[in-house]
């Protein structure tokens, strides 16, 4: 990269939500919940664009304070010295309302039962269920 070359060995991590830039910090490594499974980006990673599913973004080292964020859907651009995360919802795990998440999980089951013969609706129900399950897992993980 010609611009912004830093040799600190740290990744510049940004987390952007529809409302604002939630986080701007450096980190040694970032764990990302990609649609096809968790991946971890380190300094010098190959350029990558990936869709994020529901799960936790975990930062390690640097000025990131080892923060963890729950994201529901997003998109990430990984460059050798920069990681930019676009997240539709991003929450600290201790901000998650557990009761609400459980209600969402129940709602997803209703959606599934009412999907009839439309594949799209099953997919939608699955997505809602997955987000709810991850949310619950993330909230419970924060307590331990």
């Amino acid at each position: 990269m010609a611009e912004n070359t830093n040799n600190s060995g740290l990744l510049q991590v940004r987390l952007v939500t529809p409302d604002r830039v939630l986080l701007d910090a450096t980190a040694e490594a970032v764990e990302l919940p990609s649609m096809s499974g968790y991946l971890e980006a380190l300094y010098g990673a190959a350029p990558l664009l990936s869709e994020l599913g529901a799960g936790e973004v975990r930062l390690h080292g640097g000025s990131s304070n080892d923060q963890v964020f729950f994201v529901a859907w997003g998109f990430v651009e990984v460059l050798p010295e920069r990681v930019t995360i676009l997240a539709e919802t991003a929450l600290h795990p201790d901000e998650i309302d557990l009761a609400e998440a459980e209600a969402e999980l129940k709602h997803s089951q209703d959606l599934w039962n009412q999907a009839g013969d439309e594949q799209v609706k099953y997919d939608e129900a699955n997505t809602v269920a997955r987000v709810a399950e991850e949310k619950i897992a993330s909230a419970q993980g924060a307590k331990h």
């Binding site: 990269m1 940004r14 952007v16 939500t17 529809p18 409302d19 604002r20 830039v21 701007d24 990609s34 649609m35 096809s36 991946l39 190959a46 350029p47 990558l48 664009l49 990936s50 869709e51 859907w73 998109f75 651009e77 460059l79 930019t84 676009l86 539709e88 919802t89 039962n113 009412q114 999907a115 009839g116 013969d117 439309e118």
Partner: protein, 363 residues
């Protein structure tokens, strides 16, 4: 002729009014500042989403093998028979011509489209917009159909639209402006996208007050769907501010310490512009077609969100200008009344003196 006591009472009442409008102006100015900030902070996300979509379009074959067919339902252009119009106004009055200007622009658009024989679905956002259409046009009627499957284990639900009139109110969004949360807008966007994909509507327009800065705003009709060009706002009609309005707005902004210039791009925004466009060969984790499918509805949502935030800023700006003008008018009225009162008082004094003097002279 009013006497001094009446005038004094009147002046006191006008002073009270001025106090209220002044306070309202300060409140609106504070709210405007916050709304402007919010609109600014929402920009990087919108920019980045657009960037990803653009780079996808450039990289992949989203067009059919023959090069012509578009692969996403939101890009499909149909003949416009049923048009959905989102009308964003405010929740409250006291904002000068804000609500009525939106109403006028929307009505003009509706009339034009009706003249072409198109059906109109209205989706008002904000209490003032809802009030505008509630009594005039009927609500859209959906037939709710449920079918049981697998011995009652599964249900098939379908909502079938029955159009009775040429202009109907498809849905109302009375709470959207209170928080203007992204989740709520997502829900709204999802219903619009699904209606478009099911060909219930053939195009979507949004009428709102665009807000760049206090002196640079206009009421626009923007085409939301089908998407012709990513990242571009396709304005089909617009109503600019008059010079007079601009002057009033600039005065109001100055006296409450709000900049009349467009806010400068933040570093984040500049960074956002580079998102996904670095001159490297990205590895795509998922298939571009799939990504595109997931990104498109979100793009639409972001566009609505953007319009909403700008409209909210514009509403506060309009209220600030209106209450500033009201304060000024109240001030003028007070001056005029004070003058009349002083004259009256002086006249009374003069009269008394003359009476005394002429009384003394008669002795």
């Amino acid at each position: 002729m009013a006497n001094v006591l009446d005038l004094r009472r009147r002046i006191r009442s006008v002073k009270n009014t001025r106090q209220i409008t002044k306070a309202m102006k300060m409140v609106s100015a504070a709210k405007l500042r916050r709304a402007q900030e919010r609109a600014m902070q929402a920009r990087p996300y919108a920019q980045m989403l657009t960037n990803v979509l653009e780079s996808l379009v450039r990289r992949t074959d989203l067009y059919g093998a023959d090069g012509g067919d578009v692969m996403h339902p939101l890009l499909v252009e149909r003949e416009e028979k049923n048009v959905l119009v989102l009308v964003i106004a405010g929740d409250k009055g006291f904002a000068g011509g804000f609500n009525s200007n939106i109403g006028k622009a929307a009505q003009k658009f509706i009339d034009e489209r009706r003249a072409l024989g198109q059906n109109i679905d209205l989706e008002p956002i904000g209490k003032k917009a809802i009030g505008l259409y509630k009594r005039r046009f009927p609500a859209a009627v959906y037939e709710h159909k449920e079918e049981e499957y697998d011995n009652g284990l599964s249900k098939h639900i379908e909502n079938i639209r029955h159009r009775a009139e040429a202009i109907e109110v498809a849905a109302e969004n009375p709470t959207l402006l209170i928080k203007a949360g992204f989740d709520e807008v997502t829900a709204l966007g999802a219903t619009i996208v699904s209606r478009y994909e099911h060909a219930e509507i053939d195009s979507v327009y949004i009428v709102y007050n665009e807000f760049k800065s206090v002196i640079s705003q206009r009421v626009v009709v923007e085409k939301l769907l089908p998407i012709r060009k990513l990242g571009a706002h396709e304005i089909t009609a617009s109503e600019e501010m008059t010079e007079e309005q601009k002057e009033a707005a600039a005065k109001a902004a100055q006296s409450s310490g709000i900049s009349v210039n467009e806010p400068e791009e933040t570093a984040y925004e500049q960074e956002a512009k580079k998102f996904g466009t670095a001159d490297v060969d990205y590895i795509f984790d998922q298939s571009p077609e799939r990504l595109f499918r997931h990104l498109m509805p979100r793009y639409v949502t972001t566009q609505i969100f953007h319009a909403l935030l700008e409209s909210i800023a514009a509403e506060h700006a309009a209220r600030m200008t209106a209450t500033d003008a009201a304060s000024k008018n109240a001030g003028e009225l007070i001056d005029k009344l004070s003058l009349t009162m002083n004259r009256l008082r002086q006249a009374a004094i003069t009269k008394e003196i003359i009476e005394i003097v002429s009384g003394a002279a008669a002795l």
